[in-house]
């Protein structure tokens, strides 16, 4: 029997894991932790479609697998289309009496590259068509599986292997693409951000997204010690600092209405978040100041949206 949990919290987390131990993520990987927590929240009645990336490679080397739930990987950029077929195919077979009726959660997962770059069209299509699925984006802010190349989710100022800091460059010159806003713009019933710094909040959002009828999107912040060059015991702490500094606010959007989940009375300086990470180490004082201004501006904009369109 599966353990039934209404809301996750301290001592209120299922012991059972559907993601078996023995995978090959790096030590201290935030993505691994997020995946494990999400799987606990999803339970057994789930079918997962996963994009190529760290989470896929670290859990499925033939002939072994870490997966105790049905799981499919095919390509890098098509997990939303695959889950569309899984969902519509399963439902029509049930409707035609070819399979027994069952409540199944259909979940697509992919990294920030799979989601905000190469798979964005397929994701947009699946959300627009209204498939009943949850999309989980593991945002480690670069293409980690292939060696820390920049993505459109890489933040301003970060050094990556294809946008390196150099004599005449500070690294990433562009602002991070706002995927949650893009998802929410499809007027879907549920979109949210989550961070491994707030594990119960993350699990509850995964559960809520999975139980939502129609498309749901949860964008999960997952620090990567290898790619961000931070100490391997810091992923959770950075997951908290990102929220406390306003770099990655936690909020939910339901049909265009906003709710802030964590609102610190005062934001910590971004420097506290940037300092422990090698990818930002090259930044001079004025660039850190610029990042602080960018974060403040974004944060104010979000607060204005929450005030203008509050979620009841």
């Amino acid at each position: 029997m599966e353990e039934q949990v209404i809301k996750f919290g301290k001592n209120m987390v299922p012991v059972a894991d559907t993601l078996a131990p023995g995978h090959s993520f790096c030590i201290g990987c935030g993505e691994a932790l997020a995946l494990k927590l999400a799987c606990k929240a999803l339970g057994e009645n789930v079918i997962i479609s996963m994009a190529t990336g760290c989470a896929e490679i670290c859990t499925s080397p033939l002939p072994v697998t870490s997966w105790r739930v049905p799981w499919i990987h095919t390509l890098f950029e098509n997990n939303s289309a695959v889950i569309s077929g899984v969902e519509a195919g399963s439902k029509i077979l049930m409707a035609k009496g070819k399979k027994p009726q069952k409540e199944i959660k259909y979940v697509a997962m992919g990294g920030d590259g799979a989601t905000s770059d190469i798979g964005l069209q397929a994701l947009s299509g699946a959300m627009e068509r209204g498939h009943d699925f949850l999309y989980l984006c593991w945002d480690n802010e670069a293409y980690m599986n292939t060696g820390i190349q920049r993505s459109s989710a890489t933040p301003y100022g970060a050094s990556t292997t294809t946008a390196p800091a150099g004599k005449i460059s500070i690294g990433q010159k562009t602002k991070k693409k706002n995927m949650v806003e893009i998802a929410a713009a499809h007027d879907i019933p549920y979109a949210a951000t989550a961070s491994i710094g707030y594990p119960f909040d993350l699990m509850n959002k995964v559960k809520k997204g999975a139980e939502t009828k129609g498309p749901a999107y949860v964008h999960v912040f997952v620090p990567c010690p290898t790619g961000w060059r931070h100490a391997s015991d810091m992923a959770v702490e950075l997951g908290r600092l990102a929220v406390e500094t306003g770099v990655f606010p936690l909020y939910e959007v339901e049909h265009g209405r906003y709710k802030m989940n964590v609102s610190p009375s005062t934001l910590k300086p971004v420097e506290e978040y940037l300092k422990p990470q090698g990818r930002f180490r090259h930044l001079p004082e004025e660039e850190i100041k610029k990042i602080q201004e960018m974060v403040n501006e974004e944060y104010e904009r979000l607060k204005a949206k929450v005030a203008a369109f509050p979620l009841a």
């Binding site: 789930v46 997966w67 799981w71 990987h73 569309s84 077929g85 899984v86 029509i92």
Partner: protein
């Protein structure tokens, strides 16, 4: 009792999909395939087929949705042409390697640039090596029959490979002609329900699509190739059963008035119908010519082809695509198939009918005559094109 009706080939395909009780259709429109997804949408909208219809945002997603659908055990159909097939190319490989029995109708179209919505076999040749079973249709009856048959062979637990049914864009897809439509009971007799033992199901968790390290990739590919070659036997067997139920028979290589002919023309697809006329006319003039048509394109019918052409002196292969810098793709495959034979005809290749260029009876006569000359005294070119302006 089957009934005789006039139907456009695209609608015959849609009718076969309906009678096959397909569970899921995911498709994206592209000329000259549009009539198939349009008609299917209409059929589903009218409740004449209980199926999920996913109007995907691209062909890449069409084939990807088909992967997901087949992975849960649904009978799955898609259709495309030309650029659409190119866009889904990456996913097409995955379908066969993951052994998903998806069925796809391809209305063969030229590839850009220059943009051309008209027919040739460039799109087919770009997917030669993808590991799908592939057959060519020549007329509307065959479009219906082979479509129905495709589900049967794809879903056979001994096969589990996807099947592509090729019909020439416009010159077949848009042609209306009479054909026999069977009764539903006959279809049900021939086509059992799809039972997939590896379906993704929370009650029986399974991992689909794990990655292969160098130590295992070769073995995985070898296993796939062995299974693919073994599908040939089931293909032959299922065509025999098709003939038992419907009274029409199909073979990997089909000959037309080829017995004892010194010169044979080899074609694929709907142009074979025109080629038949030229054979009739040339034979009437006393010439020793005959026709061989490749029906089964993959797995390549080596043995049947060798048998069909071995007594001829000359074999003229007509290609509707060019393999740049290498000649006609069908011609080079045919040459490879015959290379190690002790007794074989001389082979000459000619290209024509590109990007919707019509091929008249006269053109085919030119192809045969020029082919004979090339076989005898060679050609200065890797491949010659019929009817080309200088």
């Amino acid at each position: 009792m089957s009934k005789r009706v006039g139907l456009e080939a695209s609608y015959a395909v849609a009718e076969a999909v309906r009678m096959a009780d397909v569970d899921l259709i995911a498709a994206y429109p592209i000329t000259p395939q549009t009539h198939i997804p349009e008609r299917l949408a209409e059929i589903v909208a009218n409740g004449e087929l209980d199926a999920a219809y996913i109007p995907v945002e691209s062909e890449h997603s069409a084939m990807s949705a088909c992967l997901g659908s087949a992975a849960v055990g649904a009978r799955t159909f898609t259709t495309t042409a030309g650029q659409g097939l190119e866009l889904m190319h990456e996913v097409v490989y995955v379908a066969s390697s993951m052994r998903y029995p998806i069925v796809m109708a391809v209305c063969n179209r030229a590839l850009s640039a220059p943009l051309s919505v008209w027919g040739d076999h460039s799109d087919v040749m770009a997917v030669r090596d993808v590991g799908w079973i592939q057959v060519f249709c020549e007329n509307n009856q065959e479009a219906f029959d082979l479509m129905l048959w495709a589900f049967r062979v794809a879903e056979d637990p001994r096969v589990l490979f996807p099947v592509m049914v090729h019909l020439d864009g416009f010159t077949l897809s848009h042609v209306t002609e009479p054909l026999w439509l069977p009764e539903q009971e006959e279809v049900d007799k021939f086509l059992p329900a799809f039972k997939y033992q590896f379906a993704l199901d929370p009650d029986k968790p399974m991992t689909h699509g794990a990655f292969g390290i160098p130590d295992i990739y070769s073995e995985a590919k070898k296993a796939q190739e062995v299974a693919f070659l073994n599908s040939k036997e089931i293909i032959l067997q299922s065509w025999k059963e098709f003939a038992d139920v419907f009274g029409r028979s199909y073979a990997p290589v089909e000959s037309y008035k080829a017995d004892g002919a010194k010169t044979l023309l080899l074609t694929m697809g709907s142009f074979s119908e025109t080629a038949k006329i030229v054979i009739d006319e040339m034979q009437a003039k006393g010439e020793s010519v005959g026709l061989v048509r490749l029906r089964l394109w993959r797995p390549f019918p080596y043995e049947e082809l060798r048998q069909a052409v071995k007594s001829a002196e000359t074999l003229v292969v007509f290609d509707r695509a060019v393999s740049s810098g290498m000649g006609g793709p069908v011609c080079s495959e045919v040459k490879a198939a015959l290379f190690s034979e002790a007794v074989k005809p001389k082979v000459a290749g000619i290209v024509g009918g590109l990007g919707g260029r019509d091929m008249s009876v006269k053109d085919f006569e030119r192809v045969i005559n020029r082919g004979k000359e090339i076989a005898k005294s060679g050609s200065g070119e890797i491949i010659e094109t019929v009817g080309i302006r200088g």
